[in-house]
Every structure is written in C-alpha cells, then in structure tokens.
C-alpha cells in the first residue's frame, strides 16, 4: 500500500512536471522540431531577447503584476484590519463574499468584469475603455482575496493586547499600527504580495476579456501564437517564466516554513504556561 502510494506520487509529479521539462529541453534545441533534439544551443534565448514584440509585452505583464499586487496588498491589508473589527456575524458574511471570487470560475469573473467595463465605457461615452486601466482593475480584483487570506491568519494570531500596549505607551492609533501591528503581520503581507504577483503575472483567462489593443500582456499574446506553429524562442520564454514563478513560490514557502516554526515555539511556551497554571493552584 505504502509502495503503491509512493509510485502514484511519482506519477503525479511526472504528469505535472514532464511537460515543463520537455519545454525546457526544447528551449535549448538547435532544430525547430521539438520532438527531435539536434544539439544544445542558446540561440533561442538570444532570439527571445532580440524580439521587439515579446519583450515589451513581458514588460507590460510585469508592470501590471507589480502595480496590481502592490495595490491589492495595501487594499487587502486595510480590508483585513476592517474585517477584524466587525461583529462576528458581519465578519463571516464579509469573508464569504471575499472567498467567492476564489471559487468562482475565472471565466465568469472575466466575463462579468468585461460587461461591467463595457457598461461604464458606454456611460462615459468612450469608444473603447479596454486597456491598461481595465486590466489593472481586473487584476487588483482577483488578487484581493489572496492578500486577505494570507494576512488574516497573521492578524488572528497576534495578541490583541499588543495594539493596546502600544496605545498605552503613547502611540496614536496610526502609529501603533505602524510600529506594532505591521511588523507582526509583515510575513502575511509579503506572502500576499508574492502570491498576487505570481497570480497576476500568469493570468490569461480574466485578462483575455478585459485587455485592449493598446495594452496587451504576455499570456494573452502567447495565446494568439498558439494558432500558428510556435517559434522555439517561445519555449525559452516559457522556461524563464516558469523559473521566475518557481523562485517566487519557493521564497514564499520558505517564509511560511520559518514562520510556522516560530509559531510552534510560542505554542509550546503557551502550553508550558498553561501547565504551570494548572499545577500552581493558590
């Protein structure tokens, strides 16, 4: 049984990563046919970095990912603080609303955003509203729940007396947030930024509905490429993208691992204290 499940695990990872591996190998292939390996070359990468169409689009993607993840993080953190102070009933309701975009099919989010933008465009009497701003708003929208979900646990773990202690020692509420709450929830905020950056960078479905001819992101453009035979430089691009996301995710996991190790420590402490209370008596 054990052995079988191990075999399955290996199979699952093969299914997940073999295509990536094929892609990575193909990106170093001298020939045009991905099935036949004709020798190692970096010329595909060289061609990619000389490409005047793809590189600006990559820049577009990075710009949208950066700005949207930062905006989502600021808004999401503020929202989390607000949600925390709601009455329990309202808090549950708000969290349910927050979670819907996560479980909602992306295509539904994409279509509804496109409709909304079209509506607004009509109202503003604009010929075409789709472009950078619509993309940005859409990305902030789908990034928000990820930020809230990664900041909220940090805030819940925090001793609520910490903020009061800061106020007690002379901080204004704003300063107390800055000097005490923020350092405490920072790991959650960082993983929120990284997560939404990654989500934004590789988003295709939602972007496809809200992009405009003046501002296209990389995943959308690549989709158009798939209709004709792919140039091997695209493989090189995919490989680089995959590596970038891999790095972001690894950093995030390392942060979380360090954090949960710390928590285990403090939980132990708490348990020890409890044991003292019980054995202490009075």
């Amino acid at each position: 049984m054990r052995k079988a499940s191990k075999v399955f695990t290996v199979l699952v990872f093969c299914f997940l990563y073999l295509p990536m591996l094929v892609l990575a190998v193909a990106s170093f292939n001298r020939g045009n046919d991905p099935v036949v390996f004709k020798g190692f070359t970096l010329s595909n990468y060289a061609a990619l970095f000389r490409d005047s169409v793809l590189l600006p689009l990559l820049l577009n993607s990075v710009i949208v990912a950066l700005i949207s993840s930062l905006m989502a993080t600021v808004l999401g953190t503020a929202a989390t603080l607000g949600i925390q102070r709601m009455r329990p009933g309202l808090r549950r309701f708000t969290m349910a609303l927050t979670n819907i975009p996560l479980t909602n099919p992306e295509i539904v989010t994409g279509v509804s955003l496109a409709l909304l933008f079209a509506f607004v465009g009509q109202a503003m009497k604009l010929k075409s509203i789709m472009g950078f701003w619509t993309l940005l708003i859409a990305h902030v929208t789908f990034n928000l729940p990820y930020v809230i979900l990664s900041v909220q646990p940090k805030l819940l773990q925090m001793d609520e007396n910490l903020t009061e202690a800061a106020l007690d020692l002379g901080c204004t509420p704003f300063r107390a947030f800055w000097k005490v709450t923020l350092p405490e929830i920072l790991p959650g905020i960082i993983s929120g930024i990284l997560m939404s950056f990654a989500m934004s960078l590789d988003d295709f479905v939602i972007s496809y509905f809200v992009y405009g001819p003046n501002f296209v992101t990389l995943p959308v453009e690549i989709y158009n490429y798939t209709k004709k035979p792919l140039h091997p430089k695209i493989y090189a691009l995919f490989t680089l993208l995959f590596l970038a996301i891999l790095v972001v995710m690894t950093v995030m996991n390392l942060l979380q691992a360090r954090d949960s190790a710390k928590q285990r420590g403090s939980r132990l402490n708490r348990q020890r204290k409890r044991a003292n209370i019980v054995s202490g008596g009075n």
Binding site: A165, L169, G170, A176, G280, N282
Partner: protein, 378 residues
C-alpha cells in the same frame, strides 16, 4: 492622608444590553495600592480598562485629578498598563521593549539608555538588554512588562492579573517584589486579581466585586474581619455562615442558644447572617462546650487540620492544630469577638455551609479560571 487621584462616579457599562458594571462609585488615592478583587466576570477587568481608556463607560464619569477623562484616548492618559499576558512586542528585544514609550516621546538617546538601565535594575533584570522576548521565562516577561510600563513614570500603574500565569512559588516572590516596587516608586497601583490571598497580602485597599457591583471597599483587615455580606465573607477566606437572630445589641441567638457578641446597630429580633471563621473556634471537651458536635471529616493541611463538624445537621469547617479523629464528639466555645454579625443580603443562604464539603475547599480551579479570563477579555 494622601489626596484623591482617580474617581469613578456612577459608572455603568453595558455591552449589547448586558450590564457589566452597575453604578460603580470608587475613589483612588495617590500612592495607594488598590486591588479590584472578584471572580471572573465580576467586572474588575472592565473597570481597569475604563481607567486605562480602552473602554468607555455607558454612563457615569471618570475623573483624573478632578478632570473628566471619559473621552481622553489611552495614549493621552498618565496611566500605564501591565497586561494579563504581558503583551511584550515580539519583534523587539528587551531593551527596545522598555524604550518603546520613551522613543514615542522622542527623548534623547542618553536619557533613554539611563532610564532603561534604571528600570532593568529596579526589576532585577540588568544584563538582559539584548535578549529576545520569546527567550524569556514567564517571570522574566512579567518583570519586563512592569519595567516597560514604569519607565514612562506614570502616575498610576494598572495591573491586570499580572501574576495569573506564574507558578505558585514565583507568584509569591513577585507579590513581594511588586509591593517593594510600588513603595519605592511611590505611585498608585491598581491591581486586578481573583486571588484573595494576593489581594490581602499586597493591598492598602481592597474592592470586592461581584456581578458588576462593588460589594465592599476596605482595608484588608476590615474586609477579612468585618465582611459586609455572605458573599464577601465566603470569597475572602473560609467562613461558616449561619442564620441567626439579633436579640438586642451585642446578643445574638443561633442553634437555639444565645451568644454575647460585639456587634450592634440592628433592630430588635432582626434576622441576620452570623459569620464564624474556622480558625477562631476553640475546641474543648464535649461536656464543657457551648455547642457539641461530631467530627465527620479530617484533612491534613500542613500547618493545621481542616475538620468538618456536624452540629445538628449543619456542618462547620474548623481549623485546628490538634488532631481530632473522625467520629469524635467535641465541644466548641465561641468568644464574643469570634462572632461577626452581618445584615441579610441577596447572598444570604448561598454560602458558608460545608455540608457538601470536599477537601479541595471551594477554590475555583485555576485552569478553568484562565480560560474564563480569556472570555472576560471580549
């Protein structure tokens, strides 16, 4: 004596229609050690939070030095708080935790270093400057929390069950330490606890609270010797509480027998509660006592024995250093000053009967207490 510093006038507090504090009237003098004592949910923490500025009373006034401070936010009050679970800042080391309040006030670096050093000496923690706070023991965290509050030279220090999470030995040490620090600094301490012994040991004044109301305010001796009602008599120490009738001044009747006592000021034949402390009872041979009963239970407590004695179906707790075997017939004598008379109250008949005695006393389990404390925070 010293002048009045804080006054709570007709302070009431309700959350969602549930009354937490009911018409609290209390004044606190300068350099006084005042303890708010009561079980969890009695409103003592809420009272402290009102003084600290973390809660605003639904009605009534909070006065500081004669000025109404209901609407003054915590960071503008001249009080500092030692929180229940210390609330040290985990991302700062010991030095920076203590320096926190001084940095907010933008003091010179030298001044900060001098005052932090002074505080560390005061709490006996010199040399711990660079220690991370999660590497400290409970007692050490407690000391740092006290230092962090005191370094700001507040006029009043609020302490919310500060010793609740420490073990017994450490708690005793810290009680002495706190009293010493209070006397050395000469400032007002307002201390919240559910531990009656802690309150008796440290306080100048004790405020006994229950269900959002003040039951009695007084010096520790007065609270112990002259409890106002059955609740106070039972909560502070152990008490046998009997139904009696005040025949006239200085004469009370219970168990069909008249006893001279020292209390007066009651109506003729007024029904009263009679308190007899377990340690005040003198045991004599069965035939020479005022009352005669049978020992039903003996527990060795170290310094003394707790014995339960059945007098005509009503069981008393008596503390004695002489061993009495179960089944022994003993007599007791009561001197006039051993008998304390209280007016009947809503608590009459609820306390002071040891018929369902267990060797654990009626001590509230501390573990249970700790959990309730968390609820109280809400």
């Amino acid at each position: 004596m010293s002048k009045e510093l804080i006054r709570l006038a007709n302070v009431s507090m309700a959350y969602d229609g549930e009354v937490v504090l009911n018409n609290i009237n209390l004044y606190i003098n300068d350099s006084e050690f005042l303890t708010l004592l009561g079980p969890s949910g009695c409103g003592k923490t809420t009272t402290l939070r009102i003084i600290g500025g973390f809660a605003r009373p639904t009605s009534g006034d909070v006065l500081f030095d004669g000025v109404r401070i209901n609407d003054v936010p915590p960071h503008k009050r001249q009080v500092n708080t030692v929180f229940q679970r210390y609330a040290l800042f985990p991302h700062l080391d010991v030095y920076e935790n203590i320096a926190f309040g001084l940095r907010i006030r933008k003091l010179e670096e030298e001044e900060i270093a001098r005052r932090v050093g002074e505080m560390l000496r005061l709490v006996g923690m010199s040399g711990f400057e660079e220690r991370k706070v999660d590497k400290l023991s409970g007692g050490q965290m407690q000391r740092i929390a006290i230092a962090r509050a005191l370094v700001n030279q507040p006029k009043v220090l609020l302490l919310d069950e500060p010793l609740g999470a420490l073990d017994l030995r450490l708690r005793k040490d810290m009680q002495n330490e706190l009293k010493r620090i209070q006397q050395q600094m000469g400032i007002t301490f307002i201390y919240v606890t559910h531990d009656q012994e802690e309150a008796l040991t440290m306080s100048d004044t004790i405020v006994v609270m229950d269900k959002g109301e003040i039951q009695q305010i007084g010096k520790p001796e007065d609270i112990y010797n002259e409890p106002k009602n059955a609740y106070v008599a039972d909560f502070i120490g152990e008490s046998n509480i009997l139904d009696g009738i005040m025949i006239r001044d200085r004469l009370v009747e219970f168990f069909g027998r008249r006893f001279p006592c020292v209390d007066f000021g009651f109506e003729t034949n007024e029904p009263v509660d009679v308190v007899i402390r377990p340690e005040d009872v003198d045991i004599v041979p069965a035939d020479s006592g005022h009352l005669c009963g049978t020992v039903t239970n003996v527990t060795f407590k170290g310094v003394h024995y707790d014995i339960i004695v059945d007098f005509h179906g009503f069981k008393w707790l008596i503390q004695t250093t002489d061993f009495q075997p179960v089944g022994a017939q003993i007599g007791i004598r009561l001197n006039p000053e051993d008998i304390h008379i209280m007016k009947k109250s809503k608590y009459s008949g609820m306390f002071g009967d040891y018929s369902s005695y267990s060797a654990e006393y009626d001590e509230i389990g501390d573990a249970e207490m700790a959990e309730e404390l968390e609820e109280e925070q809400e």
